[in-house]
């Protein structure tokens, strides 16, 4: 990825370049479908939209703040121990998020169980800290963090919507497939609840994404 050096003295808050930081990760530079990072949590927690939504918001919060904090500290972090500093920052934020979830949405917190803690090991977060926040100013770093987390979250929600709709006939816990469908013989697809289907769904999303945007296809 090309590192953008923000040398311009004055830049408006939403200059085209900054907007791009926010929008690119959702489409062209999507962390999941293009960089194929953070796949493990996609497999684990996309059975229901509700859990995925909470997960997406958590990651947005962690990533936005982690990028800001690392960006603020970027001149003071000795290069040799930067990974450990980054981990400490992420871990602290994840603990905060975990406590908030336990306090306000206990049932979802139970459902996500260990995967909230595993946000620490989400490769997207570490990747963005290393690749972007360590070399950029605070505001662009913040946008980059939010953008990447949103790119991650959007795929998470898409996969979860497909899996919950076809696997359980519900969305956010509300029944979508009408009862008469079940009466005439429709049956929920049990494979959708199993992890392999998350992988296949992500694969299909990648397929469609590359088909629509030919510049993503490597011609090596």
């Amino acid at each position: 990825m090309s590192e953008e050096k923000n040398t311009a003295p004055k830049e408006t808050l939403f200059s085209p370049r900054n907007k791009k930081l926010l929008s690119e990760p959702i489409g062209k530079e999507n962390p999941i479908t293009v960089q194929v990072l953070g796949i493990c949590s996609v497999l684990a927690i996309t059975v229901q939209v509700r859990a995925s939504l909470v997960m997406a918001i958590s990651v947005v919060a962690v990533m936005g703040f982690a990028n800001v904090i690392i960006s603020l500290l970027r001149h003071g972090i000795p290069p040799r121990i930067r990974i450990i500093v980054q981990l400490t920052v992420i871990a602290a934020l994840v603990i905060l998020v975990d406590q908030v979830l336990k306090a306000f949405v206990y049932d979802v917190s139970r459902q996500l169980s260990v995967f909230v803690g595993l946000i620490i090991t989400n490769c997207i977060i570490m990747g963005r800290l290393e690749a972007f926040a360590l070399n950029n100013k605070v505001w662009p770093s913040f946008l980059d963090g939010i953008g990447n987390a949103a790119g991650y979250g959007s795929i998470l929600l898409l996969v979860a919507a497909v899996r919950e709709l076809l696997g359980a006939g519900t969305l956010m816990g509300y029944q979508i497939i009408p009862n008469f469908m079940y009466q005439i013989g429709y049956v929920d697809n049990g494979l959708m609840i199993l992890p392999p289907m998350a992988l296949i769904t992500v694969g299909v999303i990648i397929w469609v994404h590359r088909h629509r945007d030919r510049s993503l296809v490597d011609v090596s």
């Binding site: 013989g185 049956v187 697809n189 049990g190 494979l191 959708m192 199993l194 296949i200 694969g203 299909v204």
Partner: protein, 390 residues
């Protein structure tokens, strides 16, 4: 005959570039080659190219599938009337079977070919002939009770995810027909668990005969309840089960066709059977329960073992290509099938999982077989060089 050729030739310009039905050219071409061999032969794909089009190759497999299909159709009727305790003659049994099996075959072909035609048009390649066989295999490996829409969903899934994403016929890692079955097995387990596989919808005034369960032989062996059918019944297939898999005898007839025409690999078939026997025998030695103590040969005539060995494992695309590899691949399928059947409490039948598993490993087996051969030859080269230097 002549009239048909003339008709096709008259229609052809309409489908060429600039013609009225340009978009449907691939569809037209598929039907044209189905009826008459076109001038050109298959250029790419899985097989060594010779004078026959791949469609002809696939037709041999269809011919080999006829015995289990016919037997399956009759057996559906036979089992149904046996279940409700009615004595009817042969014709009625066949007719009943036809009314249940034909819709499944039609749905499987229509949904699968629709997807194939769509992809062929979009990517502008010939329609993949591979589905001619897959479309027939899918109905034969599922129970007759499977709802038709499930057959359609599974077929579409198998063709798109199993074949088209990899680039079409000849590029697939897994056997598409088995993938369709695996999809049904995991997505709708209630319909494929092996409990009741007889067409059991009762009409008014009918009821099951006393003590009738409809469980397959594997389910009986697995749960220890119900009557175990005799070896004779299992070999000739007078038992409940998936449509085409019950009769080992009919399948062996098909196997003769496959081997005689050189399309199915005898090495794979034989080694699958050997592997199954071998594992069954080992389990006999360490037997602690009835299933483990069951004579090894029974594994070969129960469930989908024979069908898998003859039609599924020999799929030229997803099996091993090297000769040594074929033996390893086949034996592993046989061994794994019996292992899964006997030792895994979650799955009564292991053939499907074993073949899919070994499909994934087939390229790896080939790789090491080829590597080993290269190493052997290098060694020989070295020896020769040393001798010449001396």
């Amino acid at each position: 005959m002549k009239a048909l050729i003339n008709l096709i030739e008259k229609l052809e310009p309409n489908f060429h570039k600039g013609g009225r039905f340009e978009k449907l050219y691939r569809t037209f071409e598929a039907f044209q080659t189905l009826l008459y061999v076109k001038g050109d032969v298959t250029r790419s794909g899985s097989h060594i190219r010779d004078a026959i089009d791949m469609k002809r190759t696939m037709f041999h497999v269809i011919i080999a599938l006829i015995p289990p299909l016919l037997f399956g159709i009759w057996n559906v009727g036979y089992q149904h009337y046996k279940a409700i305790g009615l004595e009817v003659d042969f014709i009625d049994q066949v007719i009943f079977g036809l009314t249940k099996v034909l819709p499944i075959i039609i749905v499987s072909y229509v949904s699968g070919l629709a997807v194939e035609f769509m992809f062929a048009s979009a990517r502008d390649h010939e329609v993949n002939e591979g589905f001619l066989v897959s479309g027939m295999l899918i109905p034969l490996v599922i129970p007759v009770t499977t709802p038709l829409w499930m057959v359609a969903v599974a077929t579409v899934f198998a063709v798109v995810i199993g074949k088209e994403v990899f680039g079409g016929t000849g590029m697939n890692i897994l056997n598409p027909a088995l993938l369709a079955r695996a999809f049904l097995f995991f997505a709708y387990p209630a319909y494929l668990s092996g409990e009741v596989w007889v067409y059991d919808a009762l009409q008014e005034g009918q009821q099951f005969v006393d003590g009738y369960s409809g469980a397959t032989a594997l389910a009986v062996m697995f749960s220890g309840e119900g009557n175990m059918p005799s070896d004779f019944d299992m070999f000739f297939g007078f038992i409940p089960g998936s449509i085409g898999e019950t009769s080992t005898f009919a399948i062996l007839l098909g196997a003769i066709v496959l081997v005689a025409t050189g399309i199915g690999s005898f090495k794979i078939m034989a080694s699958v059977f050997l592997g199954g026997l071998f594992m069954g025998w080992i389990l006999n030695i360490f037997a602690v329960n009835d299933f483990m103590a069951m004579p090894a040969y029974k594994h070969l005539i129960m469930g989908g073992f024979a069908f898998g060995a003859v039609y599924m494992a020999t799929d030229p695309v997803s099996a091993s290509q090297t000769n040594t590899g074929k033996y390893i691949y086949g034996i592993m399928i046989g061994v794994l099938t019996v292992l899964i059947r006997v030792l895994n409490p979650a799955y009564p039948e292991g053939m499907m999982l074993a073949i899919l598993f070994m499909n994934v490993f087939a390229p790896l087996i080939d790789h090491y077989v080829v590597e080993a051969n290269i190493k052997k030859r290098l060694k020989r080269m070295k020896k020769v060089r040393i001798q010449t230097q001396v």
